[in-house]
C-alpha cells in the first residue's frame, strides 16, 4: 500500500462517525494502559492482587465505589481510619508511668459521623511491646448524645485485634441495654454496627427504620500495664460502605487495580492474537495456493482436522491440564487457530491472484517462491484483511474473559474476566452487588465495541463493494 493511499484511507475513515467514536475510545484505553504500566508496575499489581486479606485489612468488604454518593440521597459512609502511630486530629495517646512498675494508658479517638447509613464493620488493632505483663484495656464508647458505654475489658497480646462488629456477646449486652432504655424489645438479630450508631428510640426496633445518630463519636481506651517503658499503639477502623473510585471485592481488594491492569492486558492480548493469527493464516493460505499439489493437499487436510476439533473445549482441556500464564495461553490459542477456517478463505483469494499477469512476470524473471509469496501475493491481500483483523480483536478480548470466567485464566493476572468470575462465584447478582459485575463489563463492552465500530468502518473503506451498500 502506497503512502498516498494510506493518507486517503485515513481521510475516508474520519468521515465515519462510528469510526471516530471507536478510535477515541481506543485512544482513551491506550492512555489508561500507559498510565497503568507506569503508575503500578505489573509485579506490584500482581503482588497487591494476590496479597490476601492481611494487606487490605483497612478496606471495607464489598464496598461500592465512592462516586455512588453523588447520585444518591442516602450518603453511604466512607471508611474512617484513626491510628495512634500517625498523629492526626481526633487522635490522642498518653502513657503515664505512675509508679515504678505501673503505667496508665489513655487513648482517645474522636470522629464525626455524618452519613445516612451504618458502617459495615468496626475493628480495633493493637500493637504493643510489653515484656511479660499484657496491658489491660477498658474500651469506652461515647455517642453524640454524650452517653458513655463500656464496651469491653480485654487483655491484649503484642499484635492483637478486636473485631467489635463480630462480638456476639457485645451485641447481646448492648441490645439488652438499649431495649431497657426504650422500653421495648428489639426482636431481630441487630448487628453491633447499628447498636453503636443508631438513634435510641423506637426506630431501632426494625432494621429498616433504624436511623444513624449523626454527630461526634468518641472511642476511648483506659488501660493499665504493670511495666514501665511500654508502648501501645491502637488503630480504629470504622469500615464504610463505599471505597475509592471502583469499590472493593469480597477480599477487601481495591477493584481499581484489576480494572486498570485489565486494560493493557486485554488490549495486548486481543491485538496480538488477532494480528498474529490473521498474518499466519494468510501466510499458510498463500503457501497452500502458491505451491498447489501435495503441499496444498496436506495443508487443506490439516485445516479440515482442525475444523472438526471443537476449539473452545480443546482449549479448556489444555488449560485445565496446565495452569499457565496469560502469554503462554495466547501462544496456545494462536497455535490452535492458525489452521482455522480462515486459511481456506485466504487460499481462495490467492488462487485468483496467482494467475494475475504480474505474478507470471515475476515467475518469468526467476523470482524465488518466498519472494513471490512475500512481495507479490501477500501485499495484494493485506489491505483487505485489515478490517477483519480489527473486528476479531473483540473476539479475543472476550475469549480471555470467558476463560477467566471458567476459572482457567492466568491465576496471577488481574483481569476483567477475573473480576466477573469472582463476582459470579460470590453471588454478586443475588446479593445486589451490581457494581462488581458492571464495572468490568463496561470496560469489556467499551473495548470490543470500539474495535468493532472501527472494523466495520474499515470494512467499508477497504472492500469498496460494501461501500456502495
Amino acid at each position: 500500500m502506497t503512502l498516498p493511499r494510506i493518507k486517503q484511507s485515513i481521510k475516508q475513515l474520519f468521515a465515519y462517525k462510528s469510526a471516530l467514536a471507536g478510535l477515541t475510545i481506543i485512544l482513551i484505553l491506550i492512555i489508561i494502559s500507559i498510565y497503568t504500566i507506569f503508575a503500578i508496575p505489573y509485579s506490584r499489581a500482581t503482588e497487591l492482587w494476590r496479597a490476601g486479606e492481611q494487606h487490605w485489612l483497612d478496606n471495607p468488604r464489598n464496598a461500592m465505589p465512592s462516586w455512588i454518593n453523588i447520585f444518591s440521597f442516602k450518603k453511604l459512609p466512607e471508611t474512617i481510619v484513626l491510628n495512634t502511630e500517625k498523629p492526626q486530629s481526633g487522635v490522642s495517646k498518653a502513657i503515664i508511668p505512675v509508679a515504678e512498675k505501673f503505667s496508665k494508658i489513655k487513648i482517645e479517638f474522636s470522629f464525626n459521623y455524618e452519613y445516612d447509613d451504618f458502617p459495615s464493620e468496626i475493628n480495633l488493632f493493637f500493637k504493643s511491646n510489653f515484656n511479660t505483663s499484657a496491658p489491660q484495656l477498658t474500651i469506652h464508647w461515647v455517642k453524640p448524645d454524650g452517653k458513655d458505654i463500656i464496651l469491653n475489658t480485654i487483655l491484649v497480646s503484642k499484635d492483637d485485634r478486636y473485631y467489635m462488629s463480630s462480638d456476639d456477646k457485645l451485641a447481646r449486652s448492648l441490645r439488652n441495654m438499649i431495649s431497657r432504655e426504650i422500653n421495648s424489645t428489639i426482636n431481630y438479630n441487630v448487628p453491633v454496627t447499628i447498636l453503636l450508631f443508631a438513634r435510641e428510640d423506637d426506630t431501632i426496633c426494625n432494621v429498616d427504620t433504624a436511623r444513624v445518630m449523626k454527630g461526634n463519636y468518641r472511642l476511648w481506651i483506659d488501660g493499665i500495664v504493670f511495666e514501665t517503658n511500654v508502648n501501645l499503639d491502637v488503630k480504629l477502623v470504622v469500615y464504610g460502605k463505599v471505597y475509592g473510585w471502583a469499590g472493593t471485592d469480597h477480599l477487601r481488594r481495591d477493584l481499581g487495580i484489576a480494572l486498570l491492569w485489565g486494560t493493557p492486558i486485554a488490549l495486548s492480548f486481543g491485538v496480538t492474537a488477532s494480528v498474529s493469527i490473521a498474518l499466519i493464516q494468510m501466510f499458510i493460505g498463500a503457501v497452500s495456493a502458491w505451491f498447489r499439489r501435495s503441499v496444498d493437499a496436506l495443508i487443506q487436510r490439516i485445516t479440515e482436522v482442525f475444523m472438526v476439533l471443537p476449539f473452545l473445549p480443546i482449549l479448556i482441556m489444555i488449560s485445565t491440564l496446565y495452569s499457565f500464564n496469560i502469554w503462554v495461553l495466547l501462544l496456545i490459542i494462536i497455535g490452535l487457530t492458525i489452521f482455522g477456517g480462515g486459511v481456506k478463505n485466504y487460499r481462495a483469494m490467492f488462487l485468483q491472484i496467482r494467475e494475475l499477469p504480474y505474478v507470471e512476470a515475476a515467475r518469468a524473471y526467476g523470482a524465488s517462491n518466498l519472494r513471490i509469496i512475500f512481495y507479490y501475493l501477500i501485499p495484494k491481500v493485506l489491505p483487505t484483511i485489515i478490517p477483519s483483523m480489527v473486528l476479531s480483536v473483540a473476539d479475543f478480548v472476550f475469549l480471555e474473559a470467558a476463560l477467566a470466567i471458567l476459572g482457567l485464566g492466568d491465576p496471577l493476572a488481574p483481569t476483567w474476566g477475573k473480576i466477573i468470575d469472582d463476582a459470579y462465584t460470590n453471588g454478586a447478582l443475588y446479593k445486589g452487588l451490581y457494581y462488581w459485575v458492571l464495572e468490568p463489563s463496561i470496560m469489556l463492552a467499551a473495548t470490543s465495541l470500539s474495535f468493532a465500530m472501527l472494523g466495520f468502518a474499515l470494512d467499508k473503506i477497504f472492500n469498496p463493494k460494501l461501500k456502495e451498500m
Partner: protein, 353 residues
C-alpha cells in the same frame, strides 16, 4: 455421470473419515495429557486396593511384607482387567478404535442423574437439553436474519436499514455477556424470570406445568443470544442479498416487469439459498456442542456444562466421547451437504474437482 458422482463421493467420504480419525486421535492424546491421566487412575486404583486389603479382617493375620505382596498382586491383576498393563501408546489405539465404533465406555468420575456411569447415557441425558435450547435459538436467529435481511435489502438506504447497519457492531459482544445483563435486569432487579437452571426446583409433576417451567427458563438464554447475534445476522444477510440483487439476471427480471415477490423468491432467494443453508446447518451442528460459557452463566444442564465439568476433573472418556460425537455429526453433515451439491452443481456433475 452417476459413476462420476459416486467416485467423487467415495473420495470425499474417505478424506472426511480420515479427518475424523485424526481429530479423534488428537483428542485422545490431549484428553489423556499424553498419558498423564493414566498415572492419576493408577494411583487411585492402588490406593483403593491397599485400603480395602488393609481393612479386610480376613487378612489380619498377615504381616506387613505379605500384605504388600498381596496388594501388589491384586493391583497387577486389576491393571490387566482394565487393560492398563500395556503402554499408553498402544492403548491409545484401542481407545481410538472404541471411540470410532462409538463404544464410549464408562466415565472415570462423572455419573448421570440416573446414576449410570456409561458415557453414552451421560451424554444422551444432556444432549436433549442443549439441542432444545440452541436449536430453538438458532432457528429464531435464522428466520430473523433471513426475513429482516430480505426486507432491508429491498429498502436499502432507508432508516431501518441505516439503523441495522449502525447496530451491527453490538454483535461484537458475545451472547453470554448480554446474558449477565439480562440476568441483572430480569432476575435480580425485576425478579420476573429465574436466574438460571432448566426447570423449577422441585420440578413440577404435571406435564404441562413442567413444559411451561422449562419455557420460562429458556427465555433469558434465548433472549441473550438474540440480542447478541440478530444484528450481525441481519447485516450479513442484507449485504449478501444486496450483492445478488445487482446481478444481471435480476436486472433483466426487473426489466421484464416481473412482480417483486417473484423476483425475490426465484431470482434472489433461490441462488442464495444453498450457501445460506450450508451456513445454517453447520452453525446448528456446532451449537449442539453447547455454548460452554452461556450454559455456565445460565446454569443450563447441557452438553456445554458437561464438557466443562468433565475437563476440570479430567474425565477423559466423557471428553473423548463428546468430541467423537461432535466430529461424526459434523462430518456427516458436511458429507450430506456435499452429496446434495454434487447432484445439484453442474460443475461437479461434469467431473471437475
Amino acid at each position: 455421470m452417476i459413476s462420476k458422482i459416486a467416485k467423487y463421493m467415495l473420495k470425499r467420504g474417505i478424506i472426511l473419515f480420515v479427518t475424523v480419525i485424526i481429530a479423534v486421535y488428537l483428542t485422545i492424546i490431549i484428553a489423556n495429557m499424553g498419558g498423564y491421566v493414566d498415572e492419576i487412575v493408577k494411583n487411585e486404583l492402588y490406593l483403593s486396593i491397599s485400603q480395602s486389603v488393609r481393612q479386610n479382617p480376613a487378612y489380619k493375620h498377615l504381616n506387613d511384607t505379605q500384605i504388600r505382596a498381596l496388594i501388589d498382586a491384586i493391583y497387577e491383576n486389576s491393571l490387566k482387567t482394565i487393560g492398563f498393563d500395556k503402554p499408553f501408546a498402544y492403548r491409545s489405539f484401542i481407545y481410538l478404535k472404541d471411540a470410532l465404533s462409538l463404544n464410549l465406555g464408562r466415565a472415570l468420575f462423572l455419573s448421570s442423574d440416573s446414576g449410570s456411569r456409561s458415557v453414552r447415557i451421560i451424554i444422551l441425558e444432556r444432549l436433549p437439553n442443549t439441542v432444545l435450547l440452541f436449536t430453538t435459538t438458532q432457528l429464531i436467529l435464522f428466520f430473523i436474519g433471513l426475513f429482516a435481511g430480505l426486507f432491508l435489502s429491498r429498502r436499502y438506504g432507508s432508516i431501518p436499514d441505516k439503523i441495522s447497519v449502525l447496530l451491527a457492531p453490538l454483535s461484537s459482544l458475545p451472547g453470554w455477556f448480554y446474558g449477565i445483563f439480562l440476568i441483572i435486569i430480569f432476575a435480580s432487579f425485576l425478579r420476573l424470570l429465574p436466574y438460571g437452571g432448566m426447570v423449577d426446583v422441585p420440578p413440577p409433576t404435571d406435564r404441562l406445568a413442567y413444559a411451561l417451567s422449562v419455557l420460562k427458563h429458556m427465555i433469558l438464554p434465548i433472549l441473550s443470544w438474540l440480542t447478541a447475534y440478530s444484528f450481525i445476522n441481519i447485516y450479513v444477510r442484507r449485504t449478501f442479498f444486496l450483492m445478488f440483487s445487482s446481478e444481471d439476471y435480476v436486472e433483466l427480471a426487473k426489466a421484464k416487469g416481473l412482480p417483486e415477490s417473484l423476483i425475490q423468491r426465484r431470482y434472489i432467494l433461490r441462488p442464495t439459498l444453498p450457501p445460506i443453508i450450508t451456513d445454517f446447518s453447520l452453525t446448528l451442528i456446532s451449537s449442539w456442542m453447547g455454548a460452554i460459557i452461556t450454559e455456565r452463566v445460565f446454569n443450563w444442564p447441557g452438553i456445554g456444562s458437561l464438557f466443562y465439568t468433565a475437563s476440570v476433573i479430567f474425565d477423559t472418556p466423557v471428553l473423548v466421547g463428546l468430541v467423537v460425537i461432535y466430529a461424526y455429526m459434523l462430518a456427516t453433515t458436511v458429507f450430506a451437504l456435499e452429496i446434495v451439491y454434487a447432484i445439484l452443481d453442474p460443475r461437479i456433475r461434469a467431473g471437475g474437482t
